[in-house]
């Protein structure tokens, strides 16, 4: 990443122009851009096109009638409308759950990340591996007992149940990324603050947290997206609008309005909007978080 600037004068070219003509590279790039954008474009078009336009054969790609009615129906529609009510509730549930999971995981995960990065204690190396293993465990292995436990605790069909479950796999992820981030910060500042009499918690809160804000931001965004995206646990644990999240609402939509493609597309666009906007605006942080979390360690 830093190397791009330092080698600016002699721009690196893997392929010499003669061997792989640059026109071919530009054609490849154009093709990639089209392949990435076309499905999005079609989803967007479907969400605003009139039903007759979507059911035309042969299909016309540019719809004749465009309206935002479905967006209005799903976001501000009258509360007697079953679609609208269910979808709005899911939007709220997803937002509440993903935000709470992010908050809980960062609060619980930061001290642990600090401990793994800075403190020496017995079992440190195998404990971090155990945390990572829980993060990678497939939900399908845990879902049956979790379902029974949540039923036993009277937490079935509550936002709290999903918050707790999601926190259990987002927290190890937070620990993993933030441990790496904190380890990359020089410990001189910690030591100086300790000499001045700061406690470990004081060091964490006043020194580590402010310095690692960029890392915290990318971790928080990824945590939010992980919770927003989750489907299998939500499918099992939720029953009503009290806790159904957007993925479950969309699954229900397919069951109930399998033929109303426009409405399905609209629901999809609304559900995709927060993560897509987040990824677009905070791209730099997201990519950094992905690279450090998945690859570099």
């Amino acid at each position: 990443m830093a190397t791009t600037t330092q080698s600016a004068p002699i721009r690196h070219r893997l392929f010499r122009r003669g061997i792989l003509p640059s026109t071919l590279l530009y054609a490849g790039m154009l093709l990639a851009i089209i392949v990435v954008l076309a499905p999005f474009a079609w989803l967007l078009i479907s969400s605003v096109a009139a039903p007759v336009d979507l059911l035309r054969r042969p299909l016309e790609w540019i719809p004749q009638h465009i309206s935002l009615d479905r967006f209005a129906e799903l976001t501000f529609g009258s509360s007697s409308d079953e679609n609208a009510e269910g979808f709005r509730a899911a939007l709220i549930n997803s937002t509440v759950i993903a935000s709470a999971v992010t908050l809980v995981s960062l609060t619980v995960g930061m001290p642990a990340a600090y401990a793994f990065a800075r403190l020496r204690f017995p079992g440190r190396s195998w404990l971090i591996l155990a945390f990572m293993a829980t993060y990678m465990l497939p939900p399908i292995a845990l879902i049956l007992p979790l379902y029974q436990i949540m039923a036993f605790l009277n937490l079935r069909d509550t936002q709290l149940a999903l918050i707790i479950i999601y926190a259990s796999f987002v927290t190890p992820f937070v620990i993993w990324i933030m441990r790496g981030y904190i380890a990359s910060i020089s410990s001189d500042l910690d030591d100086a603050a300790r000499v001045d009499g700061a406690s470990r918690l004081g060091v964490l809160w006043r020194i580590i947290v402010p310095i690692s804000l960029p890392g915290l931001l990318s971790t928080a965004l990824l945590a939010f997206l992980m919770a927003w995206d989750e489907f299998l646990y939500a499918l099992i644990m939720t029953e009503t609008t009290a806790s159904k999240t957007l993925p479950v609402a969309i699954n229900d939509f397919i069951g109930r309005h399998g033929l109303d493609f426009g409405l399905l597309a609209t629901g999809g666009v609304i559900a995709a909007l927060p993560p897509v906007v987040i990824a677009f605006v905070f791209q730099r942080y997201i990519v950094a978080g992905l690279a450090s979390g998945g690859v570099k360690g």
């Binding site: 979790l146 489907f231 629901g267 570099k296």
Partner: protein, 307 residues
């Protein structure tokens, strides 16, 4: 030398403070508590459940069967069929994602004008929620009104509309296509980060020495980014083997079980066959495979972390 002088006052302070491992215990405890309650306890309970014949249609009668549920699965054609489909999905999608991702990463690494456009939009498929991606492709692949059919017939490739998702010969490929579209950009982004970490001067020297593009890639770039490739390979294998969401939304495992991967099979056994004992055993078998892959992954991460 000066470090030793500086270190002394710190040590005297630490004696009055908590011992380091106590602080560590206090810092790790909240996270450990969440994980023990939500992962370790259920994991133990799942193991217990997997040893009984638990049918929700027959409450109160749950005989102990030992390893019977596991033996049932390991000798059942349905189980191996679903495992085979999961492996097929994993092999094809991972190979395509890594191959195309590598090409895309190399493309984005070239000094092309407007490459920022591709670099900017490439994150969008990754950001699209899995469920929305599945929904979108379900609509694109629609037999009567889908965009894929419209595109292919208008381009003259097809003469008539095809029921892509309700034909057991093509359904799995459609799911793979949707997965590849969403995941390849992520692979490309991570490979690009790996490529950018390669020292450009080595490449310049090789080029001056007369190495061709392919030779530079094969003998210099590829060995340098092999660790990243290996990690992505294991990570994708792990994710793909337990695939559930995208299949569930696009095909529900059908038609005729042609897209029924192992996680779908486990879900159906537990929640549609109401057989919790076998469902728990299946969950354990899947977890076993994933944990082996996870061990490989963590080992690879540890190795690159040190360099």
């Amino acid at each position: 030398m000066s470090e030793a002088v500086l270190a002394r006052p710190r040590q005297t302070r630490q004696k009055r403070a908590w011992p380091e491992s106590w602080v560590a215990a206090a810092f790790v405890a909240p996270a450990a508590l969440v994980i023990v309650l939500v992962v370790v306890v259920p994991l133990g309970r799942a193991l217990w459940m997997s040893l009984f014949n638990i049918q929700l249609t027959r409450p109160g009668n749950e005989p102990f069967v030992g390893l019977g549920n596991y033996l049932d699965q390991l000798t059942s054609g349905d189980f191996w069929g679903a495992t085979g489909r999961a492996l097929y999905f994993t092999g094809v999608s991972t190979a395509l994602e890594l191959g195309l991702g590598m090409g895309l990463a190399l493309l984005m690494d070239q000094p092309l004008r407007f490459r920022w456009v591709l670099r900017t939009i490439i994150i969008l498929p990754w950001a699209l929620p899995t469920i929305v991606n599945a929904l979108m492709w379900r609509w694109i692949d629609n037999a009567e009104y889908g965009a894929l059919n419209a595109l292919l017939t208008q381009a003259g490739v097809l003469h008539s509309y095809q029921p892509w998702l309700s034909n057991s010969d093509t359904a799995m490929w459609m799911v793979i296509l949707a997965d590849v579209w969403k995941i390849t950009p992520l692979v490309a982004i991570l490979l690009l980060a790996g490529l950018q970490a390669v020292d450009r001067e080595i490449l310049e020297v090789a080029r001056v020495d007369g190495a061709g593009a392919f030779q530079v890639f094969r003998f210099i770039v590829l060995p340098l980014i092999t660790p990243v490739i290996l990690i992505l390979l294991v990570l994708r294998t792990m994710e793909a083997f337990k695939v559930f969401d995208i299949v569930w939304i696009m095909t529900n495992g059908g038609p005729a079980n042609s897209t029924q991967t192992i996680a779908i099979y486990a879900y159906q056994t537990a929640y549609q066959g109401f057989d919790f004992g076998r469902g728990a055993a299946l969950g354990y078998l899947i977890a076993l495979v994933i944990m082996v892959l996870a061990a490989v992954y963590l080992r690879l991460l540890g190795r690159t972390g040190r360099t």
